[in-house]
Every structure is written in structure tokens, then in C-alpha cells.
């Protein structure tokens, strides 16, 4: 049980996908002007991440890893090079399904998210989560926790940044820094803050 919590804490805070690895930043910076938008996007990423990370882990462990196809009588085959194509395919399909579900059951959210929903397919954080899972050779359970944790951490970071940016509308920065430049600096400060989580262990 503590193992689960440990993975969650590391995924959400110590190794926050947005603030420690800079994944999903394009999205982050384009979307994070208002907190409601950020909340909606964060929820969408959380959903997609929790679904695709364990699924991609299964695909890697059962189909692609060297020796994975032993159950089919092909223990010598190494299909890991198909990884990138498979993961992005799974993500694209998942986002498509999510889009249809949201349009059907949460039409207000669908309208608010607009273009950002299909753009989830190319959110680096989502693909990055799957790639990290494979690189660290997580098991299925660990991958599920990691998917949820990393999605949660990303959503948290984007909402924090949106909150700060809303307040920054009242700031009076030099013209060259207005908007994007200031956003980078704020993100840097948030990242610095999250560095404080490094080395945290829950035993």
C-alpha cells in the first residue's frame, strides 16, 4: 500500500511532468489563462492519462518487449521499436473516444474545451507518461498508479499556473515580458518550488 502512495507522490510532485520535465508545456501555456479552462483541461488529461498509461504498459509487456511474445511461441522476437507508433495510436484512439463521450454526456464542457480536446493527442505529457512507464519497466498496477498520479500532478500544475496568470493581468511588466515571457518566469518559480519535494519518501 505504501508503495502505491510512494509512486503517486513521486509522479505528482517530485517528478511532476509539467514542472520537472517540461512536458505538455505548449498546451500549458496556451490554455492556462483562466482557471476554469485549466480545470477542464486538467481533468481531461487526468482521464486520458489514467486510461492510456496502463494500457500502453500492457501492450509493451505482452506484445512488444523482447521475449514478450513467448506466449505465442515467438520468444526471440523484439518488437520494441514499434513502441512509439503503438502508444501514439492508442492515445489518438483514446482521445477520440473521450471526445465522443464528453460531447454526448458533458456538452457544456465539450463546448468550453473546444479545440483543446482533440489536441490532447499531441500533448507531450500524455505520451511522455507512457514512455516513462516503459523506460522504468513498471508493472501493470504501478503503471495505473503512475498514470493517475502523473495526470493529477500535471492538472495541479496547470491550475496553479492559471491562477497565477489570472492575477498577473493586473501586473505592469516591461512590454517585452508581457504574456509569454512572464509566464515562463512564473513557471520557473513554480518549478523551483516543486524542487523542494525532491527526496521525499513516505515509509
Amino acid at each position: 500500500m505504501s508503495d502505491t502512495v510512494q509512486i503517486f507522490v513521486r509522479a505528482a510532485f517530485v517528478e511532476n511532468l509539467a514542472l520537472s520535465f517540461f512536458l505538455g508545456m505548449c498546451f500549458f501555456l496556451a490554455v492556462s489563462r483562466r482557471v476554469e479552462t485549466a480545470l477542464g483541461c486538467g481533468a481531461a488529461v487526468l482521464g486520458v492519462q489514467t486510461f492510456t498509461v496502463p494500457l500502453n504498459q500492457l501492450i509493451h509487456a505482452r506484445l512488444l518487449r523482447p521475449g514478450a511474445l513467448a506466449w505465442a511461441g515467438l520468444p526471440e522476437v523484439d518488437l520494441s521499436y514499434l513502441g512509439l507508433l503503438s502508444y501514439i495510436g492508442v492515445i489518438a484512439a483514446s482521445v477520440q473516444i473521450l471526445e465522443m463521450v464528453v460531447e454526448r454526456f458533458f456538452p457544456a464542457l465539450f463546448r468550453r474545451l473546444g479545440i483543446y480536446l482533440p489536441l490532447l493527442t499531441v500533448n507531450c505529457a500524455i505520451l511522455g507518461g507512457s514512455l516513462f512507464t516503459v523506460e522504468r519497466a513498471y508493472g501493470f498496477g504501478e503503471a495505473a498508479v503512475y498514470g493517475f498520479g502523473s495526470g493529477f500532478g500535471w492538472a495541479l500544475a496547470i491550475c496553479m499556473l492559471a491562477g497565477v496568470r489570472e492575477k498577473l493581468a493586473y501586473a505592469d511588466p516591461p512590454e517585452g515580458l508581457r504574456g509569454l515571457g512572464l509566464c515562463f518566469l512564473v513557471a520557473g518559480l513554480l518549478s523551483l518550488g516543486f524542487l523542494g519535494f525532491a527526496g521525499i519518501e513516505l515509509r
Binding site: 517540461f22 508545456m25 505548449c26 507508433l85 501514439i88 479545440i115 515571457g181
Partner: protein, 220 residues
């Protein structure tokens, strides 16, 4: 002729994908701790975006609208896989440093952005050059950040010691912050500031202040 050259030159500063179009930042930051990884990443992206632009432009009349996004992604993902394999074959140690970030070129906004925004509506040659131009703009930013971070954080460039480190008998005490993630954000912010001070037409318009008492409207 000049149109192609302009397509090449424009993205480097005037429409630098990172500073103006807010694109492709993700991998820009994590690999810039050292200059050699930053350059290799830049080169990989130039290759992918130029070739994918060319490939997509070549088949743009054949691809039906309904599946064009997934076709683009498939082509880009295949090219990235090939580039990844090439890196592992010819630059093994460096590719291990780059870790998952080569794979993340698939989701790099520049690549897909140019595929959809340019290659789907222009010829092969123009698209190829546009790809190289955008890639060079990206590589330039990466190289700048990478050079500053490596020089300031380790006292070296491309592994060659430039500022002798104190622990090796020199005088330079390295700035450890430059080797940590937040510094990349700060450097990019400073870079954007510098570019926009040089080219004021890139400055963003001031956002209208939200009305004090009205509830924030749910704009998408």
C-alpha cells in the same frame, strides 16, 4: 526561388516557433543541460520536420480530410522511430542522454503544426524548406539555452573545459541552478524578453482586465 528562401529564413527570428508561436517548448528545456544533447535534439527535429513536411506535401492531394490528422501522426511517428534507431546506431551514448525526448518529437507542436498548417497546402519543395527553417529556429533557441546552461553550470562547452572549475584547481565556482530545471524556464523567459525588445512587433497586446464584479465567463 526567393519565396523558398524566405520560407526558410522567416521562422528563424521573425516567426521563431518558440518565442512567437509558443510551439515545441517541451523538449526544448529538458535536453538543454548540455550543449551536445541540445544540438543533437535540434538536428533530429530538423530532420523529422523537414522530411515529414515533404512526405505530407507529397501526398496531400490523396489524403481524405477525415483521416488527415492520423495520417500525419503516423508519418511523423514513423520518421521519429527511424531517427531514433539511427541515433542508437550512430550516437549511442548521446541518445541515452536524450532518453524519451527523441520519442516526444512526435508530439512536438512544431512538427504537427507545420504539417497541418503548411505542408497540407503547399508543394513538396516549399514544405521541405519550411521544415528546415522552422527546425533551424528551434535548434537555434535550443543551442542558446544549452550553451548558457552548460557554460554556466559546468564551465564547459561540448565537454571542453572553458572556465576552469574550482575543484580542478581553477577559479570558477559553477552556478548549480543552471543545471536544474527552473533555470531553463528563466532562460527562455529572458530570451523571449530579449527577442521582443529587439523586435517590438512581436510584443503581445495587453490583456483586457477582467471586470471586477462580473463572474468570469466560461470562454473555451
Amino acid at each position: 526561388m526567393s519565396g523558398g528562401l524566405r520560407a526558410l529564413a522567416r521562422p528563424i527570428v521573425d516567426e521563431n516557433p518558440i518565442t512567437l508561436q509558443i510551439l515545441g517548448i517541451c523538449s526544448a528545456l529538458a535536453v538543454t543541460r548540455r550543449l551536445d544533447t541540445a544540438l543533437l535534439m535540434g538536428a533530429s527535429l530538423i530532420a523529422v520536420v523537414a522530411l515529414s513536411n515533404a512526405a505530407i506535401a507529397a501526398i496531400r492531394h490523396q489524403v481524405p480530410r477525415s483521416i488527415r490528422l492520423i495520417v500525419q501522426i503516423t508519418i511523423i511517428a514513423s520518421l521519429v522511430t527511424v531517427v531514433d534507431q539511427l541515433l542508437r546506431a550512430f550516437a549511442w551514448e548521446l541518445s541515452r542522454q536524450l532518453s524519451i525526448f527523441v520519442g516526444l518529437i512526435i508530439t512536438n507542436c512544431i512538427v504537427l503544426g507545420r504539417a497541418e498548417g503548411f505542408a497540407m497546402s503547399h508543394g513538396v519543395r516549399a514544405s521541405f524548406l519550411d521544415g528546415i527553417g522552422n527546425g533551424l529556429g528551434y535548434a537555434l533557441v535550443l543551442a542558446c539555452v544549452g550553451a548558457v546552461r552548460e557554460l554556466g553550470g559546468s564551465g564547459s562547452l561540448l565537454g571542453v573545459s572553458i572556465l576552469p572549475l574550482q575543484e580542478h584547481g581553477g577559479w570558477y565556482v559553477p552556478m548549480g541552478l543552471l543545471l536544474l530545471p527552473p533555470s531553463a524556464f528563466f532562460l527562455l523567459g529572458a530570451l523571449v524578453w530579449a527577442v521582443r525588445s529587439w523586435r517590438p512587433e512581436q510584443v503581445e497586446a495587453a490583456e483586457p482586465l477582467p471586470a471586477a464584479a462580473a463572474p468570469a465567463s466560461g470562454r473555451g
